[in-house]
Symmetry: C2
Subunit: 420 residues, 2 copies
């Protein structure tokens, strides 16, 4: 592959963003970073601008724009060759960078609903996307899928599980005559098996979970990730959310998307084809590979990265997930089956519940109870075909519903284990 692909990176100072830029540096001559957007880490953003010299940069928070201008001015006066990028700020600024004309691929590394709008802007502009913002499909699947069909924009999954499925699917007849995510079942694809490490409490009994602390819940055995995602991994909600993403990405119904516990996180996921053959993608637990695949797809670049050695590992183990120990999993399946606005409620309630847990306001076991209560309350307002405004409204409502429930419970008894 000798083509230079022009990329725009949304959330450039976050985990996905920094790894994307590292890859762009590691493979000079393959990728040109034409646009960046970031939140508040100005020091890192300035470094990134110096190094990649993008055409456009946007700040989420427009109050930081003057400071960014000043810092870039200093760089400009020190480095003769430095060319100031076009600067933008606020939601409109993010949309501008997301749909930047010269960008061929947009990496959407902005977390949460803040990432949804620029991701939609990129889709509307017909850009291909390396998708790391999960709200795009979980909260707004019913809004996004028709847009993809309309504009021909393609979703390349950047997380390891969906990338694994995507890599395995390249070999099916599917690739030739279908686009990436239309909600239409993939011909020849019978089933998806998402692997799950089992998270921090993999080896705990259901009983012991009553004593789980924040420290326990935020230490992940395999992947180094943020605290919120590590808690999601401990509740297995991360896998429930991935099931919903897989549904929208690959068009399978929920009966054909399964979860298998695989503590070593070496098989990143599997597909079962119509004839019962199973294909799997394997690798060390490292986000760089799925990100690189998004950037180089449909080609592959030669890397000097550490080779996987199964002989060195010795064994890979598997077990069925314990539905009693991991209630979040079933809550996610139910929300997924309800579809429409319900998964937006699920996602927002989970974020709020985990946030409450990390603030030590609720117990670990309250997380599923709070999410389930929010989904239950939403049933009467459930809309199978919400528009973007409804998705955003439902997202707000769900967070508030969880907060209210937590306040109510603590007011009532002053302790959290009866929150729901």
């Amino acid at each position: 592959m000798n083509i230079v692909k022009a990329i725009s990176v949304l959330g450039s100072t976050g985990s996905i963003g920094t790894q994307t830029l590292q890859i762009a540096e590691e493979f000079p001559g393959h990728f040109r970073v034409v646009a960046l957007s970031a939140g508040s880490n100005l020091s890192l953003l300035v470094q990134q601008i110096q190094r990649h010299q993008p055409e456009a940069v946007a700040l989420a928070d427009d109050s930081l724009l003057p400071e960014l201008k000043e810092r870039l001015g200093e760089v400009s006066s020190e480095e003769e060759s430095f060319k100031l990028p076009n600067l933008f700020a606020g939601p409109e600024g993010l949309n501008t960078v997301a749909s930047w004309d010269s960008a061929e691929l947009v990496v959407t590394g902005i977390v949460g609903c803040a990432g949804l709008l620029p991701t939609l802007a990129a889709i509307k502009a017909g850009k291909d996307l390396a998708l790391a913002n999960k709200e795009t499909l979980i909260a707004a699947g019913p809004v996004v899928i028709p847009e993809l069909e309309r504009t021909g924009s393609r979703l390349l999954p950047a997380d390891s599980e969906h990338s694994a499925i995507f890599q395995c699917l390249q070999g099916t007849p599917w690739q030739e005559n279908a686009r990436l995510s239309t909600g239409v079942p993939t011909p020849g694809l019978r089933r998806i098996q998402l692997t799950a490490s089992g998270g921090a409490f993999r080896d705990w009994s259901s009983e012991d979970l009553k004593n789980a602390t924040i420290e326990d819940a935020t230490s992940h055995p395999n992947w180094s990730m943020g605290r919120k995602i590590t808690v999601d991994s401990a509740t297995l909600m991360n896998k429930g959310l991935e099931v919903i993403e897989a549904h929208y990405l690959f068009g399978l119904d929920y009966d054909h998307i399964e979860i298998v516990i695989h503590p070593q996180s070496i098989i990143h996921s599997m597909i079962e084809l119509a004839d019962s053959s199973v294909l799997a993608q394997l690798g060390w637990p490292d986000m760089k590979l799925p990100i690189l695949y998004c950037l180089s797809w449909p080609n592959r670049l030669e890397t000097p990265w550490r080779r996987l050695s199964l002989a060195e590992l010795g064994q890979l183990t598997f077990q069925s997930p314990d539905t009693k120990k991991y209630p979040c999993m079933q809550i996610a399946y139910s929300a997924g089956r309800a579809g429409g606005s319900m998964t937006a409620v699920l996602n927002a309630a989970n974020e709020e519940a985990v946030s409450q847990f990390l603030q030590e306001r609720i117990h670990f076991l309250d997380i599923p109870k709070l999410i389930e209560a929010a989904c239950e309350r939403h049933k009467s307002d459930h809309n199978i075909q919400p528009d973007l405004d409804e998705v955003l409204a439902v997202d707000k409502w769900s967070r508030m519903a969880v907060k209210e429930e937590v306040s109510r419970a603590s007011n009532l008894i002053g302790k959290s284990d009866t929150a729901a």
Copy 2:
């Protein structure tokens, strides 16, 4: 897939042949059996002819032709709708069936050098091949590869390991612009990992192998196969031969084809791509799946076959093969690296040595010694670009060389453990 594919089955009464015909029956409306060839199992052949009503049938042994005619005459007088096929016999008859005009795919299930000539006839006729005859590439790779390029005939591997690699490769950019086996490295493919069950002596120490009996060597832990192949599996020569096949099929040099012991035989083989991503194909140990894939490729047919469940299995284990315990492996690599006529010597010497072992004339540990001695003796006559006559001559010579060595050793000391 609604297309009816016309197939010719060489060796229809053997293991691959009978499974192919079972598949043709299991998927009515997908495959039409237009030609058959068989050895001496007339009863089964007559049944197959009744059931599939092929256009042409050939017998390897022409002395059996009158009996076949008589039996088919009886069928014809009993069943009004029965139509007599065109009958052929002998080497020319096999070639006729192999290149039968209406056949689109030829399944080559004839074992040994007897299968090489009809396989070449099919290639010369530009047919696609479901390749189960390993001599085609191991003995005659240098003859076959140029023929494939000339006629555009495509090799679809029917054994589980190469099928696994082939299935994984469907997703590489390779498929679009390359044919199946040209000896040219597959773009994006960095390495192949062939899995090996480890055979009957997997859990034996090198020391204990001195006491190995025929009964020990012919009981395979996972696959139900013939005695010869089960012994090949115990010496790991089967894997050495597969390494050579993989070299010719996928164009990788021998440094990039590895063997990993995987006792459960669930991962059938793996490929490592340029970016270090690993793809694997998994399934229960059952030849029906790779055979079906040859028949349905590039599509996949829906099967009701037992689903693979990794949770049920619990674990997959892996280890590096012990080169001291399995000397055949290194002997095969050396022969492969020498190339040309050397792998024909290797293959024939192995067949003869295993035959001597099964006749209780030599000890299990003599097998590698005899093969190595034959390869050593061939060095002075080694031809890097042999033609078909040389391949056939070398095959004969190698068997004789092994026999001579066995006779010499038993004459000398009257016992077999110094055979080489």
